[in-house]
Symmetry: C2
Subunit: 286 residues, 2 copies
């Protein structure tokens, strides 16, 4: 399928949506990008900066001629927009997304036979505490993993196209079930984010002057958008709750060993963490 | 007090000790540095790289002619070395340290009248998960805070000299009690470190491929030396235990709000963390 896709629509053009457009423009010289935005001034800026060719506020209008529609809104809006795009688009249109949670979205879309046939859920594991198209870049996905979470209704041919699409952004694709995705992401992303926020909240005005580079690293993501993270919590409530309980147990083990002067146990606990950190490297294509 | 110090001794020449030597060499052209190291091969490398002029394995020998002795060993060895340096050094010698905990060290040194008279405890808030003199640099302390924690026995004149010494490394000095230091550092450094380790330990082999930049930031310090962090835990046991309990309570609040669908409360919790993170900036001299 040469020269595919020729036309894409991006619904919600923030950091991720705009980075998808920029990376695909580098992969495919002639790509027509329609941005779906509520605020026309934002659309004008996107066209000025050549992120998009045209903009509209209508998902239906943007989807009509699109080969691929990417829903890049906060997770609690994604399923609705997938269904809107599915109704309006051509029969062979691929609808995909960038949401950090997958099971709720895939389950909701599964209720709509047409949408389920066109949709391949995706989660490019890339981002920043900085939001907005102004921080987007063509290589945001380069060397990163994009998880694809097809449903029982996803045809293999459509999954292949979704893999090709996300690989064209520069990312490496892996395929797993929506439930596995949500469980794993709770442990490596969602709960770490909440832990980062809890660490930030330990600071009082008297100690704020004493933070070092370690604190700044640990709490960097706590500067992320609270509304976006609330939506993630809502969408992945059970897995996050379970992983939060694991985290609490682990910290309480540490506290108990400290209290009981169990120095050998505490050293082992610290060594296990170091081993995991040392062995866990960011995925790259290189 | 022009041309002071002319001669310094560094006991334990890792990341911090070597960075003290390098930064002071930049501030004072003619500075004689004696490195105290156990391994003569390490001493040779330090002299080759002009970090030190000479090396010895003896704290007493190194301290004899020194204007300032800096103890830069793990925290559980510092008080002993302070007392050894105090016995061997000139009456007007300043003995200082770089330990991340202060109360245990200051209390131990207070038992020794001679050592207490010469010692001003210090904690330059700078470092890295990377250890060893090979990672040292002259500007490690530039723009950072060094906390000085004098005891009741510290003479004001000696405290002033300690302030001048640490300011010559490029850092800004603040003065507080050892107990306040340990309490604050438990909340902004020691417990965040343990939280980082706990987050690292949530990863399983199946999820290791899915970590993103947020996880890498949060867990960076968990790669630090476990033995060094065990010593910090031992030295600041009570404050760390209390702050761990606060952290557990905060994460459990979050878990409970998630479970109870208290979305307004969860949003407020996330917003408070963001506000603190946004307002807490690293200290700089600029």
């Amino acid at each position: 399928m040469q020269h595919w896709p020729r036309r894409i629509a991006i619904v919600g053009v923030g950091l991720l949506g705009a980075s998808v457009a920029k990376s695909l423009r580098e992969s495919f010289g002639e790509l027509h990008v329609t941005a779906v935005v509520r605020d026309p001034r934002k659309g004008e800026v996107l066209v000025e900066n050549r992120v998009a060719d045209v903009f509209t506020h209508s998902v239906a209008v943007a989807s009509e001629a699109a080969d691929v529609v990417v829903i890049a809104t906060p997770v609690d809006r994604i399923a609705d927009f997938v269904m809107q795009a599915a109704v309006a688009s051509k029969p062979d249109c691929l609808v995909t997304d960038v949401g950090s949670t997958k099971r709720g979205i895939v389950d909701a879309v599964a209720m709509d036979a047409l949408a389920a046939k066109k949709f391949v859920a995706a989660h490019p594991i890339a981002g920043s505490e900085k939001t907005g198209a102004e921080h987007s870049c063509a290589d945001l996905f380069r060397g990163k993993v994009t998880v694809l979470t097809p449903s029982d209704q996803t045809l293999p041919e459509l999954l292949s196209r979704a893999e090709a699409f996300w690989q064209a952004t520069g990312s490496r694709t892996v395929v797993m079930s929506p439930a596995d995705h949500d469980l794993h992401l709770a442990s490596v992303s969602h709960v770490p984010h909440l832990a980062s926020s809890a660490v930030a909240k330990l600071v009082c005005p008297e100690s704020a002057d004493l933070v070092g580079s370690g604190w700044l690293d640990i709490t960097r993501v706590a500067a992320g958008d609270p509304a976006m993270w609330l939506a993630i919590c809502q969408e992945n409530r059970v897995a996050i709750e379970n992983q939060l309980a694991c985290l609490i147990d682990s910290i309480d083990d540490c506290r108990r060993m400290l209290k009981d002067h169990d120095d050998a146990g505490l050293l082992r606990w610290l060594e296990e963490a170091k081993t995991i950190r040392d062995q866990t490297k960011p995925s790259t294509l290189d």
